[in-house]
């Protein structure tokens, strides 16, 4: 958690006493399982309600209770909601990390701490605010065993005073958090907030420059995490079969989905228009998805890297046997005994190529909750149109953190189920060749089991068949078949989501990335321009295989920085594989893989170095 950069906290507000308004980061260091998430969520929500763009990132350990955890809130009037590398305001509640937390701060940063930790003895270049939490909690919470819980709420009050948060917004956020049924709990906690505020008002003198002021930049927006957004996308995509196996950081996706399904997808007779099955493992989960999709359901599963690895063989079968499947991969760091609660874009490559043999899979890269929602829907359409497994590649940062977002738009297009022949079609056609490229897009027509027609059936197996789906070991049949699969993959370029491109006519440099690198990349462009005068264009890949815009963008610029949140430059490699040498020559790689959400400063520093600025 140490930061090595020294970025002076400069006032953008002209002369006078240094004042930073709506542009700083707060970090709360606590212990997981101690209930601090409520205080943090309320804090974040209060700022949101004040109309200030805000983001909240939970940095938590891979255990259930007792290990250090950090929650970072960033308020940014400019709307930068990626992680900020420097912490401007720290709340140190965890005795175990307090010393390191304190030492990691830049000079001048503010520090609220639990008084007995005596952090004031450690350094003198910070704005220190000691708070006697244990003393304060006693009067507000008579029941001793609940104090541990309520205690955290006090810092919300302290911060309300120090940062100028409207207490009414805190109250509102609290009520929203606890819901109408837990009014008593809300009251108790409100008492703690007030105690914090009152203590601060009486005892603390504001010496740091951070202030919050009402703005009007969050009106109409929602707060949601990416997993919930994917879940909603699947619900509105008409997904009917969901199978899963719990794994951090993807579990909450299906768990949230179950909640929405129960509310939104029970018909008038009280029956479910869906099935959710917790499978015994990921091999079974993907098997069920493929079985269900083969039989015509829109089916999906959600997992993370280890799950994708386990699904390898089955996904290859899906590719060769041409069965739709939607797999949401919420990426995390490393193998099972890696860092499951840290974020990484580690599965770009494995999503694109997983399984043995010549296998390739389309991958969608949402960067925001809106895209989690819309791309989850698109994934089903693509999977069914192309009859192949499709990945939605998100990550822990997007999936498990709370994001400010525009409300989601209801799909404008009807659900499209791809090339499925009905009994009537068969009557008309007399029969069909399952694996024949009738339309020139590489996609054959299929029938669903249960289609009431003697000519409906075909036998599904991997690659050992001819166009009529009959068993064949003939070299020419095999080659025809996999050549068609390759054509099909090429055809996808015309249908997958287009990139988000911003061409700057003045720029010789392009920045290219996917997924959650978006936030740091966009902010870095701003830093590069403001601090170094470097004009940049921007290209955010939204799908693999890449679309035709990519070549154009590469041709238009001299140097293109490809950002990867992984060690091995996986996105960069994918682009390299698909590009001719003259375009490759322009590619530069920017990598970060420390497991925290990517921040702009890291990107800026790396580009500045490579540009020799």
């Amino acid at each position: 958690m140490s930061t090595t950069e020294v970025t002076p906290i400069a006032s953008h507000e002209g002369e006078g006493p240094r004042r930073i308004i709506n542009d700083f980061s707060i970090q709360v260091a606590t212990v997981n399982g101690s209930g601090s998430q409520t205080s943090n969520t309320v804090l974040m929500r209060s700022i949101f309600q004040m109309g200030i763009p805000v983001s909240g990132k939970n940095l938590f350990p891979s255990n259930i209770q007792g290990l250090p955890t950090w929650f970072t809130i960033r308020a940014s009037k400019h709307g930068w909601i990626g992680r900020k590398k420097e912490i401007d305001f720290m709340v140190a509640m965890n005795p175990e990390t307090a010393k390191e937390d304190c030492l990691s701060l830049e000079p001048g940063a503010a520090l609220v701490y639990d008084e007995p930790l005596k952090l004031n003895e450690l350094r003198s270049d910070l704005q220190m605010y000691p708070v006697p939490f244990d003393k304060l909690v006693v009067p507000v919470c008579p029941e001793a065993r609940l104090r541990k819980l309520v205690r955290n709420m006090i810092y919300d009050g302290v911060l309300a005073f120090l940062l100028n948060i409207d207490m009414e917004e805190i109250r509102k956020a609290l009520v929203k958090q606890f819901g109408p049924k837990k009014a008593k709990a809300a009251d108790l906690n409100w008492g703690a907030v007030k105690a914090g505020y009152e203590f601060a008002e009486k005892n603390l003198t504001k010496t740091d420059p951070c202030y919050l002021e009402r703005m009007n930049k969050t009106a109409g927006k929602i707060i949601i995490d990416g997993n919930a957004a994917c879940a909603l996308g699947c619900v509105y995509a008409g997904c009917t079969v969901v199978t899963w196996y719990p794994i951090t950081p993807s579990s909450s996706l299906v768990e949230t989905m179950i909640g929405y399904l129960k509310r939104l997808r029970i018909d008038k007779d009280g029956n479910a228009t869906y099935a959710v099955v917790q499978a015994e493992d990921e091999l079974a989960a993907i098997g069920m998805v493929i079985g269900a999709a083969w039989a015509g359901a829109r089916s999906m599963t959600s997992t993370s890297g280890p799950g994708v690895s386990l699904m390898s063989e089955f996904i290859g079968l899906g590719y060769y046997a041409e069965v739709p499947a939607v797999i949401v991969d919420v990426q995390r760091v490393g193998p099972s005994t890696g860092l499951p609660t840290r974020t990484m874009q580690g599965d770009t490559f494995v999503n694109a190529f997983v399984s043995h043999g010549d296998t390739k899979h389309p991958v969608l890269f949402p960067a925001s909750p809106e895209e989690c929602f819309s791309m989850s829907i698109e994934a089903f359409d693509l999977a069914e149109f192309y009859q192949t497994p499709v990945f939605v590649n998100t990550d822990l940062d997007l999936g498990m953190n709370n994001w400010m977002s525009e409300p989601f738009e209801y799909p404008t297009e009807p659900i499209s189920r791809g090339k499925v022949l009905t009994a009537e079609d068969l009557n008309r056609l007399g029969g069909f060749a399952r694996y024949k490229d009738v339309d020139g897009d590489g996609v054959g027509y299929r029938t669903l089991p249960g289609t009431n027609h003697p000519a409906a059936a075909y036998f599904t197996r991997g690659s050992g068949h001819n166009e009529e789906a009959k068993y064949s070991e003939r070299p020419d049949d095999y080659v025809n078949n996999v050549d068609r699969l390759a054509r099909k993959f090429e055809h996808m370029r015309t249908r997958v989501p287009k990139p988000a491109v911003e061409v700057n006519e003045k720029a010789a440099v392009g920045i290219l990335c996917c997924g959650t690198s978006d936030y740091a990349a966009q902010e870095s462009r701003d830093q590069l321009l403001r601090e170094y005068g470097l004009e940049t264009s921007y290209y955010r890949v939204r799908a693999y295989p890449f679309t035709s815009e990519l070549a154009e963008f590469l041709d238009r610029h001299d140097r293109i920085y490809v950002i990867d949140q992984n060690r091995d430059a996986q996105l960069y490699s994918l682009i390299k594989l698909e590009s001719p040498p003259n375009r490759i020559a322009k590619l530069r790689s920017v990598r970060y893989y420390g497991g925290l959400p990517l921040d702009a400063r890291t990107v800026t520093d790396e580009i500045v170095m490579q540009e020799g600025l």
Binding site: T243, D267, V277, G291, R461
Partner: protein, 346 residues
């Protein structure tokens, strides 16, 4: 050209001929027990008048798992990956609960690589017929032991099996399968009867069918046939020769015990359950299997059945229609509902 009319074709209650229930030409070895099982499936599905296009066939990998291509050619089939047919079948049946699902697999597929999916399938009362074509070996990869091989048996390669066998019926009974039966590929009548019961059963039916591999079952101590020929130095090419055999067929009365000789000369002792055996008691079934094991017998018949009113789909509260083909209006909630959700998140 003759002018006499063809004799009227024999059809079942839905007007189909037995031909409509046949599959492709088998590519299994002549005499392989698996072929007999395919024949029984054809007969019973014909006799019961099941719409072939309402059937979905599933399998893993192995000789046994190839066999769905050799019956019910008018039904959809999915030959999946090794040991994972249960998940494919579960998914497909969830997608379309009206399908008649039949899964045909091997003992290697089920009890080795696939035992995890097998066990968890048992826990879900899915209406599905699960047939294990049980030969104690991996046929398709040339005769290694599977986990159902008898302890002490010797493979063609000369290896002695040193692990206790897994009894898939016992597992099924204990883990929740609601119909569990065992049969022998040579026993036409029994197999037909069991298949019919399974087709009527509202839940998972496991049928473990002893189905000897004529090519790689080569038990020690055999005095006849293949082993015998080898021992007596008859000019067999060892590398790739597969002798041709006829299917074994037996007929047994209820309650009867019979030694049946397999192609390799080894014996199997079958005991057909008699009428007064009560298969609805789990404890009976477990005791029966334990006792047969001790006596070195193979009890055949319906070992356990627990008629069920509700199945897995009912438990999940699913609509009656196939999920696969529900119209958009039933699977995409309204715009208003999305607006409402958005409002809550503000």
């Amino acid at each position: 050209m003759s002018t006499t009319a063809n004799p009227p074709k024999k059809t079942n209650r839905i007007g189909l001929e037995v031909l409509n229930y046949k599959g492709g030409k088998t590519t299994l070895c002549a005499g392989c027990g698996h072929n007999s099982i395919s024949e029984r499936i054809v007969e019973v599905f014909y006799e019961m008048g099941i719409h072939p296009w309402n059937v979905a066939k599933f399998s893993g990998i192995g000789c046994s798992s190839k066999s769905p291509a050799y019956f019910l050619g008018l039904s959809h089939g999915f030959n999946g990956v090794h040991g994972r047919a249960p998940s494919l079948a579960t998914g497909a049946m969830l997608a379309n609960r009206n399908l008649v699902g039949i899964l045909v697999t091997g003992d290697g597929d089920t009890a080795s690589i696939g035992i995890g999916q097998y066990i968890h399938l048992m826990r879900r009362n899915l209406p599905l017929i699960y047939i294990i074509e049980d030969n104690g070996v991996y046929g398709l990869t040339k005769g290694q032991f599977s986990a159902t091989a008898e302890m002490g048996s010797k493979s063609k390669g000369g290896v002695i099996n040193d692990m206790a066998k897994i009894d898939c019926c016992l597992l099924g009974i204990q883990l929740g399968a609601s119909l569990v039966a065992r049969s022998f590929s040579g026993d036409k009548k029994q197999m037909q009867a069991i298949l019919k019961a399974a087709l009527h059963h509202n839940g998972l039916s496991v049928i473990d069918i002893i189905s000897p591999c004529v090519t790689f079952n080569d038990h020690e101590g055999s005095t006849k046939s293949y082993s015998y020929m080898k021992e007596h130095d008859l000019p067999i090419h060892e590398i790739d020769f597969v002798p041709h055999y006829e299917n074994i067929e037996i007929e047994m009365a209820e309650g009867e015990v019979r030694e049946v000789e397999l192609h390799d000369g080894s014996q199997i002792r079958l005991r057909k359950l008699n009428r007064d055996y009560d298969p609805t008691k789990k404890t009976n079934a477990v005791r029966l299997l334990q006792e047969s094991e001790e006596k070195g017998e193979v009890a055949t018949g319906i070992l356990y059945v627990q008629p069920r009113d509700t199945n897995f789909f009912d438990m999940l509260g699913m609509v009656d229609e196939p999920l696969a083909t529900l119209p958009e209006s039933r699977v995409r909630p309204s715009k208003e509902s999305l607006d409402m959700v958005m409002e809550e998140l503000r």
